[in-house]
């Protein structure tokens, strides 16, 4: 910073508290700092819960970044950087009068940008009248060259439906635009969520405060989407296009999709057919009428846009031009984000709107013209020996607060200020490349940058580092002033623009510079309050009423990808449970003294099952004593063992399903899994066998209750159709496969016909399938092959047996097959019916097997030849699983690009 004292949002220049902060300040001091920090942690937990993102470390304290010393201005997105959001408990307060001015400025700004786009993609008078240099149009990364069908206008009704803008308050007290956020305009979801959590966790803050509410804006935005969505006959839906859970804004997208009632979709979930956009769901394709784009604009349609590769939805632009889907925003809005446009906005406003701009910009100089080139030579990179104190002549381009700057530095700081301090070099043609703070560059880096800039100065702008205002923020020891950037949001309601009376303020860490770069990594945010004042009464929007919705009982719009995730959640949970059950039985068999030969035979079988199930690797246990075996078993609880791997797989699915699981379930899945993993990490690797056994027994119990509790939560909290149905299907597949494999494995012993072996094997089967008690209640203690096999393979009343799984599976698939015409297309229903029939076939096959044993006089002999057939039955179950995947989940495979050969070959020979 340059020595000028930044404005303090809370305190005026004379040490007095500004009136609109007084009440809150009183409440804050009543609460006390420690409590405030604790509440801040609550908010962080609640946010992470809503977004499914991990809680960033040390909530309540902005991260210390290295930007003060590193050559690059922004917090370097190094590998260890946490993504995620925190919300500082102290809001940023805007008085009504100030917000009214900002509101007018933001609306004018988006009108200007809309007019600029209409011109640039239309007649281009900005070029014929020389209001914009051609480089800023033709080389602008956001300028997209799409085609226009004959008879159509290249222009949409409007480019912008939603807009966000970053503002900073300079030393003169005026809010200035730092950057326009047009193509993706993230953050509105977080602004809504911040407010929700603040009112929940800090209710005393809001007592007696007369604040503007956020919900009217949300309602208006929602209605404007529906208005567009309901024009067709069959109420096409809305979807939000996200790059997915690995993107930095996933949390924001989850919240926003929920708030707006949109399906959250990745490009692979969507497809264009016959000129319309469809979402692939488990019940076939669903029409999408409105698409909110939150993905890089140049990759939304690989057929027409220049983004390399095949990400995106081929034909989307064609569908949009044909009016079948409305894109919000039009992908071409990215044009206005190029920082090089900033210095030209003022004359453009006069030309396009006939208005003087209400909002100024942070000082920006394009280096591609004569003025910029002089600035480059004289201020940014003056000849080497030149002392930097010389006041540089500032030519008469509109530059608020510019000429005062260097003088301040000389007064307070005796050390020589490097040339260009206070300026940032940024790409002029579109963000995405790093910005450089001149003040922080060493000599070598400065020379390298100079060479790059001088090679093509028109590719760069110089931006002033704004001396942004500071706002009170909860620090480690007390309340500290921190620089803030304010983001405001505007939505078009069909006739006019409305600005959210609130927003999201970003808090910068000590020493972190305010630059135009989008935020990467951890963000500390603030709720933004706008005080209510009858003199600035909010514009009343008439409440629009959507036509009454038809009653729906089924969740028709479960996207295939989400269904797939639920299916695998079910399968992983069942794998976990099955493996834990096996370990439980093994431990029970290891509880006595050294085993008799007969017990040893049982143990051998069990250990083989452990290997088959992947619980243990190929450790040979046969020659071990009991304590030796127990020591070997200790490895199953290692952090790279099967249990830990499954727990991690399960946790990885949670963020994908954040918008579809209840909070209770997400918490349980993640927190319990973490707790079990921590226990595995901290266990003693050595120690006496008794302690290892106790540890393993305890862990097994926890794993079993983990699985059981989740099943319970699912059946108590989730509607039967939709996600839970597919989670159930996954479980049924996995459990039937486990039962069949166990039975096959146990019956497959070399000495099976020896007296007593069969009975022992059958007992083991009952034990592994947790059906001992059920069996005993029916047949007392007589164990024979046919009754055991009937109970485990056929009985559709035994929830641990394969018969039950397959029957349930069949019924579930039949349910999908018998949905009514309006929810699922006929082809999809027919496919479901076919799958149900295959489940029935496996059941028939098992019934033949059991019958074959029953009618044989020597049941033992008949049972001993079953393994082969049981394995076949298991293979059929896995085939059914694959068929289910193809029928309901198969997200469209990735397409290939032709014509501009991905392999680099020339498609057409040329002379």
């Amino acid at each position: 910073m340059t020595g000028t004292i930044p404005i303090d949002e809370m305190v005026d220049g004379h040490g007095g508290v500004r009136p609109h902060w007084r009440r809150l300040l009183g409440v804050i001091s009543d609460i006390g700092h420690r409590e405030l920090v604790a509440r801040g942690q609550h908010i962080a937990l609640a946010l992470s819960d809503q977004t499914g993102m991990p809680v960033p470390a040390e909530p309540g304290r902005p991260p210390v970044t290295s930007s003060a010393t590193s050559p690059s201005a922004a917090p370097s997105p190094d590998a260890g950087e946490t993504h995620g959001v925190l919300c500082d408990p102290i809001p940023l307060i805007l008085p009504a009068s100030e917000f009214a001015a900002l509101e007018a400025g933001v609306i004018q700004r988006v009108r200007l940008l809309e007019a600029l786009l209409q011109d640039v993609y239309g007649d281009r008078t900005v070029l014929t009248e020389c209001l914009l240099p051609p480089a800023l149009v033709w080389a602008n990364h956001g300028f997209l060259r799409g085609g226009t069908p004959d008879g159509d206008s290249p222009l949409p009704d409007r480019f912008f439906s939603f807009y966000a803008v970053d503002l900073v308050r300079g030393a003169d007290g005026q809010w200035q635009v730092l950057a326009d956020r047009a193509a993706r305009a993230n953050g509105a979801g977080l602004a809504l969520e911040n407010r929700r959590q603040m009112t929940r966790i800090l209710p005393e803050f809001f007592a007696g405060q007369d604040l503007r509410r956020l919900t009217p804006f949300l309602d208006l935005w929602q209605e404007s989407l529906q208005d567009d969505g309901l024009t067709g006959t069959s109420s096409p839906g809305q979807a939000l296009l996200t790059p997915g859970p690995t993107g930095p804004h996933w949390g924001e997208h989850v919240i926003l999709a929920r708030e707006l009632g949109c399906a959250l979709a990745e490009a692979g979930d969507l497809t264009v057919r016959e000129g319309a956009l469809w979402l692939k769901t488990v019940r076939g394709l669903r029409r999408v009428g409105v698409l909110l784009i939150r993905q890089n604009a140049d990759t939304v349609d690989p057929l027409e846009l220049e983004g390399q590769g095949t990400a995106g939805i081929a034909g989307l632009l064609d569908a949009a031009r044909g009016g079948a889907v409305r894109l919000m925003n039009d992908p071409r809005v990215g044009f206005v984000e190029a920082p090089g446009l900033t210095p030209f906005l003022e004359p453009l406003s006069r030309h396009l709107l006939g208005e003087e701009p209400l909002l100024g910009n942070v000082g920006t100089i394009w280096l591609g013209d004569e003025f910029g080139s002089r600035f480059l030579d004289e201020t940014l990179f003056p000849p080497e020996p030149e002392p930097p104190q010389t006041e540089c002549p500032q030519p008469e381009q509109p530059q608020p607060e510019q000429p005062r700057q260097e003088a301040a530095g000389t007064e307070t700081d005796p050390a020589p200020v490097p040339p260009g301090s206070g300026w940032v070099i940024a790409p002029a043609l579109g963000l995405g490349k790093p910005v450089h703070r001149l003040a922080t560059l060493d000599a070598a880096a400065r020379r390298a940058l100079e060479a790059t800039v001088r090679a093509a100065p028109w590719r760069f702008v110089a931006c002033r580092e704004p001396n942004s205002s500071v706002a009170p923020t909860v620090g480690e020891k007390g309340i500290v002033p921190r620089p803030v950037v304010l983001r405001l949001f505007a939505a078009f309601d069909g006739t006019d623009w409305a600005v959210l009376p609130g927003g999201m303020a970003r808090v910068l860490a000590e020493g972190e510079a305010v630059t135009i770069e989008p935020i990467a990594g951890l963000q500390v945010t603030k709720d933004v309050w706008v005080t209510a004042d009858e003199r600035f009464a909010p514009r009343e929007h008439p409440v629009m009423h959507a036509p009454p919705l038809p009653i729906r009982r089924a969740q028709g719009d479960l996207p295939s990808r989400a269904a797939d995730d639920f299916f695998w959640l079910g399968r992983y949970l069942e794998q976990l449970e099955g493996a834990a059950r096996l370990l439980h039985v093994v431990l029970a068999h290891l509880s006595g003294p050294d085993p008799s030969p007969r017990e040893r035979a049982d143990l051998d079988v069990l250990m083989r099952q452990m290997r088959v199930a992947g619980v243990t690797s190929e450790a040979a246990f046969s020659g071990y004593t009991v304590s030796g075996m127990i020591r070997e078993l200790a490895s199953v609880a290692s952090t790279d063992g099967l249990f830990a791997r499954l727990l991690r797989k399960i946790m990885r699915l949670v963020p994908e399903l954040t918008d579809r699981l209840t909070r209770e379930m997400r918490d349980f899945i993640t927190h319990q899994a973490h707790a079990i993993l921590r226990e595995m990490e901290s266990r003693s690797t050595r120690g006496d066998p008794a302690r290892i056994r106790d540890f393993l027994t305890g862990m097994t119990r926890r794993l079993l209750s983990y699985g059981a509790t989740l099943s319970g939560l699912a059946s108590e909290n989730m509607v039967r159709s939709g996600g839970r149905q597919f989670m159930d299907i996954g479980r049924r597949i996995e459990r039937s496969s486990t039962v069949l494999l166990s039975c096959a494995g146990i019956l497959e012993q070399p000495d099976m016909h020896q007296r007593g072996r069969m009975e022992a094997a059958l007992r083991l089967m009952l034990e592994l399938c947790d059906s001992v008690i059920t069996y005993r209640s029916r047949y007392f203690s007589v164990v024979q092959p046919a009754p055991v096999l009937d109970l485990l393979l056929l009985d559709d009343d035994n929830p641990r047996g394969a018969g039950f799984q397959l029957a349930t599976l069949r019924d579930s698939l039949l349910e999908l097959a018998s949905e009514d015409e309006s929810t699922a297309p006929a082809a999809q229903r027919a496919a479901s019916a076919e799958l149900a029939a295959s489940a029935g076939d496996v059941l028939d096959m098992l019934s033949c097997l059991v019958a074959s044993v029953m009618k044989e006089p020597d049941q033992d002999r008949a049972a001993a030849v079953l393994p082969e057939a049981l394995r076949q039955a298991q293979a059929s179950v896995m085939q059914l699983s694959g068929a289910i995947g193809r029928c309901y989940f198969s997200v469209l495979n990735s397409p290939r690009l032709v014509g501009i050969g991905e392999d680099g070959t020339l498609d057409e020979a040329a002379t």
């Binding site: 281009r124 070029l127 014929t128 020389c130 051609p134 480089a135 149009v137 033709w138 080389a139 060259r145 799409g146 085609g147 226009t148 069908p149 004959d150 159509d152 497809t271 264009v272 057919r273 016959e274 000129g275 690989p302 057929l303 027409e304 220049e306 390399q308 095949t310 081929a314 034909g315 064609d318 044909g322 469209l892 495979n893 397409p895 290939r896 690009l897 032709v898 014509g899 501009i900 050969g901 680099g904 070959t905 020339l906 498609d907 057409e908 020979a909 040329a910 002379t911």
Partner: protein, 311 residues
Amino acid sequence: MIYRVRHATSYTYGRPVELASHVLHVTPRDFPGQRVLWTRLDCDPLPVRRREGTDHFGNRIFWLFHEAPHDRFDIVSTSEVEVLFDPLPPPEATPSWEDTAILAAQDPDASQYLFDGVMCATSPAVGAYAAQSFPPGRTVLEGLLDLNRRVFSEFRFRSGVSSLRTTVADTLARKEGVCQDFTHLMLSGLRWLGLPARYTSGYIRTRPPPGQKRRLGADVSHAWVGAWLGPEYGWIGLDPTNGIVVRDEHVVLGWGRDYADISPVRGLILGGGGDTLRVGVDLVPADEWDRDPALQALGAVPPCPEPDIIT
């Protein structure tokens, strides 16, 4: 001169393609010096959706969408085009290349061809190579003709040595390549100097060796450079592959910043694999076409041109 041109593209897929969307640049465009008399596009299988229009540069495009499985895809574009470009102005009458650069930077349309597309990045080495043809004060056309001649005489035509990934610096170092490479090289050099240049895609007339009959489909796609002489004289075509100025033996399909803007067939397909592609072009004067039974057997010439497709 009136030509008839037939551009046939044929994909055979090893495995069926389930979904396909394509953007085609296979129809000649109108502009001063070229008039499209009639044109038609046939494709097999028929698409579920077909639209036509223009791209950003004003070239004719077709969008085709297929949603039923198919294992081959044939596109035939047939047009009749009248070509006569104005003779070149006297080179010494054109503005100096420096003035042309200044005019270009202010021209609302020509200025767009000062900037690179995705396939043809600037290279200081190529810039220096082109600069040898443009000593201070030389008129722009003199410089352009000199550069065109130098590329023709110093570079060897050789197919198979380059691909779409070949950079202009590679071409300069190897001193060989095909029309695409020479065109990209010249574009890059001219833009380095601040002169607008556009990638022009089209066809050139070929003649069978003396005494031989012409083979069907033996012609090929061609590419050359569009160069700008200032607002007064506008655009001319320079063919560095043949070292000539475009006059009446070239038919223009369209232009862009580089090949990527104007590739004849660009598409996304789902499925397929083990694909083969065959392209055949016939560019023959219309009267000759009517006398050649083999060409006439190709059909595809509408008895009377449909008025609505004459652009």
